[in-house]
């Protein structure tokens, strides 16, 4: 931790002034300066030295006053600098934490995708084993020995199904749920700007990013990791849509009853937060908009987009958060992705 409570130049100036004063006093006393001066002035009254003598202490006082002012200003500046440095250190620390969370989020997303892909392959492989073994077991002329063998095949396949279901549960990012907040709701109004600062640094180039948080507090039972994953995906897409030269606006507000009703969430949802990510990019045709949230659908060139980003976002928002995601778009005007997230009391009610 740096300490700038008292700067060296200010202390040095003050010391020099004090030492010079003390030195002059000693010299003046040792040579009977004042007496000699008195004599001298009496002898040269026509020189008007009295005024000069009166001016010297006044000038010394003014010089001391300026030295003191400089010392005080310098101290004030140092204090402000010290505060700014502490703030900067806190911000750097927070950025490091968010970077860690984002890394963890990417790691979990990658692991989840891998696990989901493996479970998918296992399930597809198990399906013909189940179907054919059961068809064989249903044969009436099967010997007891072969019936037992078929039973064993099915038991082994059953164990395989259990493993794949557990893998799928992992792929469903269960451990990314809101437990990571220690059971406490996440305040979106605080979390959103923090993450956006980071996402801005991490993803944007010449795109202008604006944020509008229109509520003082917005508690929701969602995980910070998943929120980061969702925002990163949406802002990346919006940035791509503006071809790196437009404006992307992220806003948070309480959802209007009309928006909640339009999303088909009317019953049991007394309060929801609305997070929108809007861009003024190329927009989408109705056909593209209709498929935008589908898995494997991408308008990006092969090898650039996986087509999984938005569908994973949809999975998180609708499955994990119990919310709703909708896409509004007009070609040439832009796109708005709206996420409705239940507020914390509603989620509690829904869980009970």
């Amino acid at each position: 931790m740096l300490n700038f409570a008292f700067s060296r130049p200010a202390r040095r100036d003050l010391l020099i002034a004090l030492v010079a004063c003390a030195g002059l006093i000693v010299i003046f006393i040792s040579i009977d300066f004042l007496e000699a001066l008195f004599e001298f002035t009496r002898e040269h009254e026509d020189w008007e030295l009295d005024e000069f003598l009166a001016t010297v202490p006044a000038a010394a006082l003014v010089a001391c006053w300026f030295a003191f002012r400089r010392w005080r200003e310098s101290n004030g500046l140092n204090r402000r600098l010290s505060e700014a440095l502490s703030e900067l250190e806190a911000l750097t620390q927070r950025e490091r934490e968010i970077q860690g969370e984002l890394r963890q989020s990417h790691k979990m997303a990658a692991l989840g995708q891998l696990a989901g892909g493996i479970a998918h392959e296992i399930n597809n492989t198990l399906q013909p084993i189940f179907t054919l073994a059961e068809l064989c077991s249903e044969q009436e002329d099967l010997t007891d020995k072969n019936r037992e063998r078929m039973k064993q095949i099915l038991s082994a396949a059953g164990r395989g199904r259990e493993i794949s279901q557990k893998t799928l549960m992992f792929a469903g990012s269960d451990e990314n749920r809101s437990d990571e907040n220690g059971g406490e709701p996440l305040d979106l109004s605080a979390a959103l700007p923090e993450m956006m600062d980071f996402v801005t640094d991490a993803t944007l180039s010449s795109v202008k990013l604006k944020s509008e948080v229109l509520v003082d507090t917005a508690p929701a039972r969602i995980s910070r990791t998943e929120l980061t994953q969702v925002l990163t995906n949406l802002i990346n897409n919006a940035t791509d849509a503006t071809e790196q030269k437009g404006t992307v606006t992220v806003s948070l507000n309480r959802a209007t009853p009309a928006a909640v009703g339009a999303a088909g969430l009317g019953a049991g949802c007394s309060g929801m937060w609305s997070v929108t990510v809007s861009d003024d990019g190329v927009g989408m045709s109705d056909t593209v908009r209709e498929r935008a949230l589908d898995p494997f659908f991408s308008t990006k060139p092969p090898g650039v987009g996986t087509g999984l980003g938005l569908s994973v976002v949809r999975g998180i928002v609708e499955k994990n958060w119990g919310g709703k995601i909708t896409v509004e778009s007009e070609p040439g005007v832009g796109t708005t992705v709206r996420i409705l997230i239940p507020d914390a009391p509603v989620t509690e009610g829904a869980q009970s």
């Binding site: 997303a109 989901g116 479970a119 998918h120 392959e121 597809n124 179907t131 792929a171 990012s173 898995p295």
Partner: protein, 128 residues
Amino acid sequence: MKKVLLVEDDEFGRYALRELLSDAAFDVAEADNGLAARRMLEGDTFDLVVTDIFMPDMDGIELIRLIRKTYPDVKILALSGGGAGFTPGYATDLASTIGANAALQKPVSNDELRAALDAIFRDEDGKS
């Protein structure tokens, strides 16, 4: 005899389901992805499409949307083994949402499959 179009990219899976459907007295035609299925739907009439969800070229979700738009009377049974990055049941829920008559998570037992097929055609018989 009811005609079924079986759409599945996995060769073993396709074989097994064909066996089950044939045993259940369906007339089975096969396609290994959504595009092939679309071509077959254009040239023939089917009572039922049994489709996988994650397939190359044209996936089951797009196929279900196409069928609901173009062939509204065709019944749809969707089967999915899940997919990379999805919560369990996500693909089957999505398939149901966009218009599949039934959607099951693989691996599914023969009894469950037969029950789903019965339910699909029972609904149809009930309506007619």
